[in-house]
């Protein structure tokens, strides 16, 4: 993607840096030594299945977890030695809503701003601007409980921006939102990225990562398994075309034999077989010629989801 290269060339200033970063909870190693570096103004994503170590990594970045080993610098500061200063420079949108239900919408921003010791004038001005930014101005005096899920998420985003942070950390910012609400959040996040904020996000949605991230890492079992721009990862890890077959009457096994002989790689996702190839037409011919019963076939371009399935342990062939 061109934006990634442009930004990368413009300012190669590191703002988030991890080396051999580890986190254990008792015997369980959630993060087993990861390295990553994020540059100012980038949108950087952490992808991975549940339990991959994404949230543990996020928590170390925003100070809700203390690293067990390795080095982590946020906004240029070591997180273990400069706990408060790091927290002063970042904004956090948590996975679960933790708005203050005892306070009205705007009061949530005002009280939160006080936690950063901002002058009252500044807080009031920013609160109005941010409500405008997330389109909640007409809900300023509403109770938090009256907001929809999408509005609550937008309020969380506004709250995370009250201290004008250098880095915004978002843990699954659109999980549980309907498509309209999700697009609205994406739009706001893109605008933040355009303003030059560094965005760090985790997500389960490949479309979200493709839409927003300049670069991303995929985590699995506490380790980073790959890193790059969405386009790079697709080119690097999967063939450009995908055929999805749905078998009929247990024909999946026989179908797999036919495909495996021809395709670059085969993945199983539920009752479907995904065939990765550079020559979809030829593959389709072979399947037809074999006489195996196929219920439904879909052709599409390879995407990040395919990379994800490939690298997080559902691979059948290499």
């Amino acid at each position: 993607m061109s934006t990634e290269q442009e930004r990368g060339v413009r300012a190669r200033e590191s703002t988030l840096f991890a080396r051999d970063l580890k986190k254990s909870y008792g015997e369980f190693q959630a993060v087993k030594g990861v390295d990553f570096e994020v540059y100012r103004g980038e949108c950087f994503g952490f992808l991975g299945p549940n339990g991959a170590g994404k949230t543990a990594t996020m928590k170390m970045i925003y100070g809700a977890a203390v690293p067990t080993g390795g080095e982590l610098r946020v906004a240029g500061l070591d997180v273990t030695r400069h706990e408060r200063d790091v927290k002063r420079r970042i904004g956090v949108v948590p996975q679960e809503n933790n708005l203050d239900d005892d306070l009205e919408v705007k009061e949530n921003l005002l009280v939160y701003g006080r936690y950063f010791d901002l002058p009252k004038k500044v807080i009031l001005r920013r609160a109005d601007e941010l409500l405008e930014f997330v389109q909640l101005t007409d809900k300023a005096d509403a109770e938090v409980e009256q907001l929809s899920g999408g509005m609550k998420r937008r309020l969380l985003i506004a709250r995370a921006l009250i201290n004008d942070p250098e880095i915004v950390v978002l843990d699954e910012p659109t999980t549980g939102l309907d498509p309209q609400a999700r697009h609205l959040v994406w739009e706001r996040l893109r605008e933040l990225a355009n303003e030059g904020k560094t965005l760090i996000l985790t997500t389960h949605y490949m479309e979200e990562a493709t839409q927003l991230c300049d670069r991303l890492v995929i985590m699995e079992g506490g380790r980073i398994v790959t890193e790059g721009s969405p386009q790079q990862l697709i080119e690097e890890h999967v063939s450009p075309q995908v055929l999805e077959f749905r078998g009929r009457n247990g024909s999946l096994e026989r179908l797999r034999e036919v495909i495996e002989a021809e395709a670059d790689a085969v993945e199983q996702a539920g009752e479907s077989l995904l065939a990765y190839t550079a020559g979809a037409d030829a593959l389709l011919e072979k399947v037809r010629a074999s006489g195996v019963e196929v219920e439904n076939t879909v052709y599409r371009q390879a995407g990040l989801e395919d990379v994800f399935l490939r690298l997080t342990g559902r691979s059948l062939t290499d």
Binding site: Y62, A64, D102, V111, Y112, D117, N163
Partner: protein
């Protein structure tokens, strides 16, 4: 691991206190009302009702109402701070997740706990001040010859209730920091708060009991709180300094423990 002693910052402590104050100011009328009524019910039932059966001059040369009124000030502070540091703190910790949001700002877990101590103390002092005013007025209008608040030293009761509130907040927060389920508070209230309420010299002098009851009472917190309030309401003797010192030492010794435990729950 992570055994470094962490002291709260005054700034962070204040911000957490301020958050609670902001909410309190919105709802104070509804919040305060039951706390006023409850001690008055005790005064009416025990002071006037039971007191009618107790001979005049029965306890320390005063009426029974005069005897129990200052003690109820102390127990009122205990209840206010105990509810704040148990149910209210639990909801903020585990249900509304308010603290999770706060500790991602420059405010640390230790500031959250200290802010809650201070807030519980403030709440205890606010309730107590209202209650004290009611006692003073009521006492003078009903029986000017035997007022319920007889000394100007009583003006020192509100700041003492703040300290007493902080002490009980430390105890309640310690229990909160150790439990996972809200129903366990039944144990705390039945086995700690209620026995303190009944056996700390509010309703009868524990000194008259055979050993080791008075000795045991000396080691419990509400006993000293009751002594302080009673002394200040009637005109103190120097002995009151021992009670105040006891409260200070106990509070300071215990205060760091919940901070440690709560930090462990908030920061993994």
């Amino acid at each position: 691991m992570n055994a470094r002693l962490r002291l709260p910052s005054p700034r962070g402590t204040f911000r957490v206190w301020q958050r609670n104050m902001t909410i309190f100011r919105k709802y104070w009328k509804t919040i305060m009302f039951p706390n006023f009524v409850e001690p008055l019910l005790y005064l009416a039932a025990l002071g006037l009702g039971l007191g009618a059966f107790i001979q005049e001059g029965g306890i320390n040369g005063g009426t029974y109402v005069q005897y129990i009124a200052p003690g109820l000030l102390a127990s009122n502070a205990m209840f206010a701070a105990s509810f704040e540091s148990t149910f209210n703190t639990f909801v903020k910790l585990k249900i509304d997740r308010i603290y999770d949001a706060i500790v991602t700002t420059p405010i640390n877990a230790e500031d959250v706990v200290a802010g809650e101590y201070l807030w519980a103390g403030t709440r205890a002092a606010l309730y107590g001040t209202g209650f004290l005013a009611v006692l003073a007025v009521l006492g003078f209008t009903l029986s000017p010859e035997a007022p319920l608040v007889a000394s100007w030293w009583a003006l020192l009761i509100p700041p003492m209730l703040l300290l007493i509130g902080v002490m009980f907040s430390v105890m309640g927060t310690l229990f909160t920091s150790l439990i996972q389920r809200i129903d366990l508070y039944a144990y705390y209230f039945t086995l700690v708060v209620t026995p303190l309420f009944l056996f700390s010299g509010i309703f009868f002098p524990v000194e008259n009991f055979p050993a080791p009851v008075p000795q045991i009472a000396w080691f419990t917190p509400l006993y000293h709180a009751v002594n302080v309030c009673r002394e200040l309401a009637t005109g103190p003797s120097p002995v009151v300094l021992v009670d105040i010192a006891w409260i200070l030492v106990f509070t300071l010794l215990l205060a760091l423990l919940p901070i440690r435990f709560m930090r462990r729950r908030l920061i993994s």
